[in-house]
Every structure is written in C-alpha cells, then in structure tokens.
Symmetry: D2
Subunit: 286 residues, 4 copies
C-alpha cells in the first residue's frame, strides 16, 4: 500500500471551494504524480483535512525548496500543513517497564519491515528487557525513575531523546505517568497504549475494574499522550471477547493480544503519516 | 442446541467436594437423561454455579413433586436453586418508545422460532409501533408516562404486567427510566439495552458522548435493570468499528445493528435459562 | 456521511500523471464543491479508479449538459465513466423465496431511511411474503418459476422489471438460479447473498457442507451475479463464530444474522454509488 | 482458568443414560474434586464426549493405578479415553522454514507462561531462525529436506523426535509437505497453520488465490495434519478484513497476525488437553 520514494502532505484549513484543484494543480505543475489522496470534511467546524502522497521521481521541488514555494498557496487558504518524506524514516524511542509483549511485537514488526523507522533506543526503568534489546541490536538505556519525584529521571530521558533527535516516543507498556512538562515537549509525538476500552476504566488497574464490573469484552486503546491522563486523542481501539470463566490473570493475558494490535497499528499509521490530530480527535487516513 | 422437552436446573452454592456426583446421581435415580451440563467455580468467593438440563421423557418427578424431593439435597448443600421447564414458555412484555428496530428484530426472531416465549403484549408511551404490533398479532397497549411523575404511568404498566402474569420485561429501546419501585418488582427479570459499551458513556446521549470523545468503536450493552441506572449485571456486549467519517447520525444508525444483536442474544439466553446472576455479574452458560 | 443534493462521478482509466488535477479542475470550473473524493490505483494493471462527489448547489451543468461537456475530458484520458445524482433514487426490485429475514431487514432499513431508493416491488415464487409486502405498502408479484424450465417465469419477471424501469435487482434469499440470459440484462445490477464465505462452499447447501467440514466460523457473501454461479465480483463478506455445539439448524439460524448484514451493506453501497466493478473484483469506496 | 495440579480425563463413548453420574461418582469415590467439566452430545452419531478435570490433592489413585481401576468402568460403557496430568508438560518440537512470525510468537507465549509445555527443539530446513532459538535457549536443528525426495530429511527429523520423546509437533510456517508415513507416526499430534480460511484456497499460495478472487476477508486455519493436504480436523479459524487497497504483499503481512493467533490458540488448547478429535472434526472444550 505504499510506494517507495514519496512525499506526504498533511493539511487542514477552513472549508472552502476549490481546495482540491488548487492543491492537486500545484503538485501537478511541479511534476508530482499523486499515488494516494484522501480528504475529510467536518461540517460542524467547517474544517477541511487532507492527506496527499505523490512520487518524488519527477517532482521538481527539493525538500529545501518546497516550503517557500508552497507557503503562498497555504497562506491564501489559511492552511496548517506539514510535509513528510518516505525516505526519511522517523527516529523512534521505545519506553518500556517490565512487561515486554508490546516491545517484542514492535521490534519484530520493525525487523520484518512492517514499521518503516529507525528504532534508536529502548529506554526502561527496569533491566528486564536489556537482553531483548541486544538481540535486536538496539541500544538499551536504563533510566531510574522515582515515582515520588520524576524530575531527575525525566531529565535523563529527555537528554537521551534530544541527543538522538527522537521524533516519536512509544510507550510500550511503560508504567510511569509522564509529567506535563515532558508531554509538552513532544506534542502528538508520544503514543501510549492503555489497557482498556477508553473512556471506560481510565487510570490504574483497568483489568481489575473490568473484572469487577463483569464486562463481556475487554479492550485496549492507543492514543497520543496529553497532559490529562488517558484523555488524549484516540488513534485505535479494539476488543476481545471474555466470559465469566476469565479470572483476573486471564483478562490480563488475553488483553496482551489486543494491546499489541492497537499499539502496533497506531505506531504504523503514525510512521506512515496517516494521522491528523484535530481537536481532541484523530483523523486516520487508511 | 436445545432438546424439545426438558427441565433445566440452575443452582449456586458454596463450593465443596462431590457436588456434581450428588446432583447427577439424583437426576439419574429419577430417570433424567442429562443433555447439557455446565458449571462454574468462583475461587475468590468459594462459590459453585451450575446449569443442568435433562430430558423429561423418562423422568419420574412431576413439576409438583420435584421441589419436595430435591429440597433435602439442596438444603444439605446450602443451595439456591430454581427449575425451569422448556415446554413452559416465559410470558414476555416488550416495552418500546419510538424507535422500533429492536422491537422489529425481536418480533421477527420470535416469529421464526428463535425465541421460545409468548409475547403477550407491547407496551409503549407512543403510538408509533401499534401497526407493527398488529402485523404480528400482539396486543398493543399505549400507556402515557409523564417524565416528571411516572407514578400513574407505572401503575398502569404494572397492572398490565400482573394481569397477564408476565415473567420477563424487555426494554426494547424504551426511553423512560423505570422507578426503583418498578424495578424491585421484577428483579433480574427486566432486560434493557444501553446504547454504549458500558461502563463507558453511562446515562443519556451516549452516542453524542462517543462522538465527542472520538472513539474508534461504538458498542451496546444488554443488562438486567437494577435501581442504579446502567449499573445492572451485564449480559452481553458487542461493538462495531467507526471512523472519523461517522457523524453523529451515522453512529446512531450503525449502533442500531449492535443494539439489536446484544438485546436479542440476552433475551434468548434468558428464555433458555442460561443466565445466572451472581453478585453484580452474570454467568452465561452457552 | 452523505450530503443531500450531490452528483457522483465514477470513473476508471489508464494510469497517468495529472488525472486528479484535470478532474478536480473541471469540477471547480463549473462550480462543483467536492464533498468526497477517493481514488485507487492498481499498479499491476496500470489502472486508475476514482469516485468523486460534489454539491450541485452552485454547479452550472445540468444532467443534460454534463455528458457533452465532460466527454472531451474523458476521451482524452481514455476514461470509462458514469455520473449519478443523489436525488434520483434507484428503482429496486426485491426477489425472495420463502425465508424472509433478508427481505424484512431491507424493508426496515428502507423505511427508517438507511437505504435511499424506491422499492418498487417484491417478486417471489412463493406467497409467503405477500403480507410483509403489504405491511410496507410495496407491490407484491407472485411469479411461478419452474426449476426445470425457467423461461416462462423469467419472461414474466423481466416484463415486470422493464415495465417498472428497475435499476437494481436484489436477490434477498431468492432460491432459484437465474439464467445467463436474465443475468446478461442486468450486468452488475443484480446483487445476491450467498450463505457461505466464498469461495468456500460454492453451490447448494453451504451450511450442510460447512457442518460436515467442521469449520469454526460460518460466513456469508454478497456479490454481483454473473453467468457463473457464485463466481461474481464480491462486494462484502462477513463471518460469525460457531462451535461443535452448533447443529445444522443452529448454523442456519446464526447464519441469518450474517446474511442480513452483508446483503444490506452491499445494497447500501450500491445505492450510494460506492462500488466500481473492475475485472472480477470490486472497489468499494467507503 | 487452570488449576495447578490436576488430572484431565478425555473420553468418548456411545450415548446412554447415566454416563455423567457414573464418571463423577468414580472420581468422587477416589477423592477427586472436579474443577472443570464439559460434555458434548452428537445426536446424529449417538456419541457422548466429555472432558473432566479434577484436583489431584486428595485423589487416591496414582497415575500407575488409575488405568486398572478405571478400565472396568470404561469397558462397561464402551469408552475411548485417555488421562493427562497437568504437571506432566508435553514435549514439543517446533518446525519452521524461513518466516519466523509464528515461531517468535509461540516462543514468547511460552516464555511468559501462556503455553505450559517443554519446547525441546526447533527443527528447520533453513538456518534463518537459529539465532532466535539461541535467544530462547532452545536447541536448534538444521535438517535439510529435498523437495523431490524427503525420505532422508524426514528420517533425520523422526530420529530427533523419537530421541527426545516428542509429544507434539507444531508446524509454525514449515513450508514442506510431510509424507503420509511421517504423519502416520503422530496422529492428531501435528498441528499446522494454513494461511487461508479453509476449505477456501487449499494448497499452495492461498494469498495469491485470495487476491485474485477479490475476497473482503482473509483468514487462517489451524488443524491437525492428516495424510490429505489441508483436510485434517480444523481446530481454530479466524479472519481479518481487507479491501481493494491491499496488494498481495499487504495480504501476506496482514495475514501474519491471523496466522499467529489461530496457531497459538490451537497449540494452547492442545497443551491444555481441551481438544477431542471426532470424525474429521474437533470438539474444543473451552
């Protein structure tokens, strides 16, 4: 579903006529051959959102030239936009605590080519996943984080992220809550997986709460992290069926399969630049 | 999956050894041939729950005789139990307001034999479904209910239920909240469908809330009604996928399919005596 | 998800650069405001397919004028195309035999506004559904069809279809195989539901075959009818879980829910002009 | 869902009255406390099948004693039976070719405790997965297999299996067809995953065939291997949704997730002694 050497333009602007022809004409004039285009209109808010991807082979604007050429078009349409290049893979840091099922899944998908990115490091407040990191030849950084005062731990983490020019942080079952200051540094660039079907069972121990409520499905939710716990824009959700036979440990175990799926899909869509955040929602162009 | 002329024993008691042989031996001694048996243990609470169904053909206890013969066994095991007979169909009342998709679905399933019961009446606070009731030859009762004071409306409803010896009330998108007094008259015998994946979006306008939160799945929940709104024991839940393209009206429309499914399954399991309520949870022996 | 008064252009042509700007520019020049656009490229066959929908409010071409204006554009791009108007509902005939679950489902969806069309008639080789037709105020036509020689029966059916200018024939569990001559009259305009997950269990009695094979899921498939039995382009498929407990009758019963869903989705997508047939496949722009 | 130290009795016999009391009474007399019991009747064939699991703590028969005590009961009921002990984990060999997604998934589930067994070895006709085997401290055996004449390769494989007293062979995307002689040595003890929803797309290259047919769901099937290719008793199946946007490579990629799930569930149920093969079908007591 993806061509090899493409540019992706993601934009949003107030709804008005003639947006598509303006944009497609601009790309055509510069030799861009559109391979994928999708758009969305929000009638309530009068907003237009679009993702358009084109081959770079005959495109006559370099990444350096593009902004100055496109800005006049964008300004006339009051557009927010960004451009991404498929041959510039995102630099990713994976955060994890002890449970490694999401980590292992992401690493495997990365190794077989499902996730186009560079996994620059694994950061953990435990030593448990060091061996797995080594198996995949990914640098492993142990950073102690005190629950009572995360300042020092987060300083160390941020230092690592900056030093390595990290574009995306994936919380692959990382069990510490990030401070608002940390989150503010990576807006819409931290993806978490919460082990419930949000907004049900916000907060700690969602499987326990699901068990007590006697639900017949359990779920998981991947979302961008915002300052408010478990309230960020939802990227993906899924569920799996359980029954009265499932004890708490069984819920946790079965939930792992759903967690893996919803996290890996979210990461993939982010890496393929398919997600536009919009209010507190996401538009996912798949 | 169901034999024609059977008895079903539903029981719960404190866990102890030898429960199964005692019960199966009792049935065997009286000529009962077990066609289905299922059991569940809750280790936390030390509880044992069982559903056992047997053919009545050679069973030597009449419904009149069964209690006195079985009570000594039950008493020695501190058992709660009830017996149901497949050839005694439950008498059902369907409550509905304006939207008729669940009502129509239940009536169709009933007509083609999926729901073994007698649908004695349709009760509504609107006239909209009268014609549908007539098409299915089911008596239709319009009972006005004032939101501010339901006393009189509920008195009329309860009178109808009692007069017709109703065993089960199904709220097939009935949009009035029943009073605690009404609910207390039919414990675990009123089934409601709530148009969200409980406990997410309790209360009114769940689709609106789901739309605003930007969820990627919408759900529905069927449950027994208790005094606390949307907090009763969950019988069944299901979900369906939505995307950013779904406006509020689309969510409602797509949700109808899920509502139908979860309500009809719950009603069917209730009618087949497959549900045991247990704390605030259900055990569904399917 | 659909605006009220729109035109929908469906097209396919050989892949080349600049297709999107040409088409969007054409619509823009004539005052068409695009509300939905989706496209697909098939790299194997070098084909480009597109669906574009725009508001007619300020569009300056009438349905009469559109072809002559658009044809030069289309010819230069070697395009196959057709245009549909949302305020011109398709005229639909529903064919049914004895089982009425799909028929009832379609009629209900139509009545509550999910299916924008005119249901002109119900045609059946049995009398069973006459009362349901009357309930929905849809003309019912009994047409006897002899399995050995369908010539006369089909002549009667075709006469009805032509007289009523039928655009779409839906086989809602119609159990007679249409002759190739009949099918040829309505290419890609006859939708059938087959009660299996095609291509598994082609032909008669798929539930029996599924039961004998011991599958763990049963499915249904909606597809356009072609001369070759059960081989036409698939529009939609779905499945539901079964177990060893399901006897043949249970498979049939559970299958009805899937049949309803896949048929109603296919009909809806057809009526919303979301389907392009392409080789023996469909592109469904949803 | 599983107690720690239990015995599991799996049995089938002609249907007759009083089977359950006889069996449960036998276990009770010997101090066995039933923790799980499930049964199935096949009315067509007059067969009764049962799985019963009990705690061994107070059970007074040793594994050595059980057969001689139980055989008279079994003989009187014309019963086929076997007993398994939860503290005697099966000895498993994993066969794999190049693609390692199923292998990795099984190894991870095994390491975190989802699969109670001893993985004794990985056998492959390629070297690709040697490093993964080493990471999990599982012996890796490269055995060359010539497609034209497998005799020598299979002799080597069988030697390894026998030497290590292997109970279960799992074909985790092993791309060689086993000879009937090999299969006959491990009846109902070789589990394969086929990458289609059987019986659709039997044989080689099912994704290619699914792509060409234009299906809207792709599936995978885990089954016991029999002499006839892809015709053995189905244990588990699942599907995932695809669309016209999926090229062949995308189908393969998305299919991997389904393959993993259906294979791991089958292996788990086998290891927990939940599967009874019956004709060419399975009864899965979950």
């Amino acid at each position: 579903m993806g061509a090899q050497n493409t540019a992706i333009l993601l934009l949003s602007c107030p709804e008005r006529k003639g947006l598509v022809p303006v944009i497609s004409e601009f790309l055509f004039q510069h030799g861009g051959d559109i391979v994928h285009a999708d758009q969305h209109q929000d009638p309530d808010q009068g907003m237009f959102l679009m993702r358009v991807e084109w081959e770079l082979k005959d495109f006559d604007l370099t990444p350096d030239q593009f902004p100055s050429e496109f800005n006049p078009v964008a300004a006339s349409l009051k557009m927010n936009w960004r451009i991404e290049y498929s041959d510039v893979p995102a630099r990713v840091a994976l955060f994890v605590s002890k449970e490694d099922h999401c980590l292992m899944d992401l690493l495997h998908r990365w190794r077989v080519g499902e996730l186009r990115c560079e996994i620059m490091m694994i950061v953990s407040n435990h030593e448990d996943t060091r061996r797995l990191a080594e198996f995949h030849d990914v640098p492993f950084h142990y950073v102690a984080v005190k629950t009572a005062d995360k300042t020092e731990g987060e300083r160390g983490q941020l230092h690592l992220l900056e030093e390595n020019h990290i574009d995306l942080v994936v919380l692959a079952r990382y069990m510490q809550i990030l401070s608002p200051e940390f989150v503010a540094r990576y807006p819409n660039r931290i993806i978490n997986v919460h082990h419930s079907f949000l907004p049900a069972f916000i907060g700690p121990r969602p499987y326990q709460a699901a068990y007590e409520r006697g639900v017949k499905l359990i779920g998981a939710t991947s979302h961008y992290v915002t300052a408010e716990l478990d309230k960020g824009p939802i990227i993906e959700q899924d569920v799996t069926r359980v029954s009265h036979r499932y004890e708490l440990a069984d819920l946790k175990e079965k939930g792992r399969d759903v967690e893996r799926m919803v996290l890996s899909r979210a990461v993939r869509w982010h890496l393929e630049h398919r997600i536009l955040v919009y209010g507190n929602k996401t538009v996912v162009f798949v």
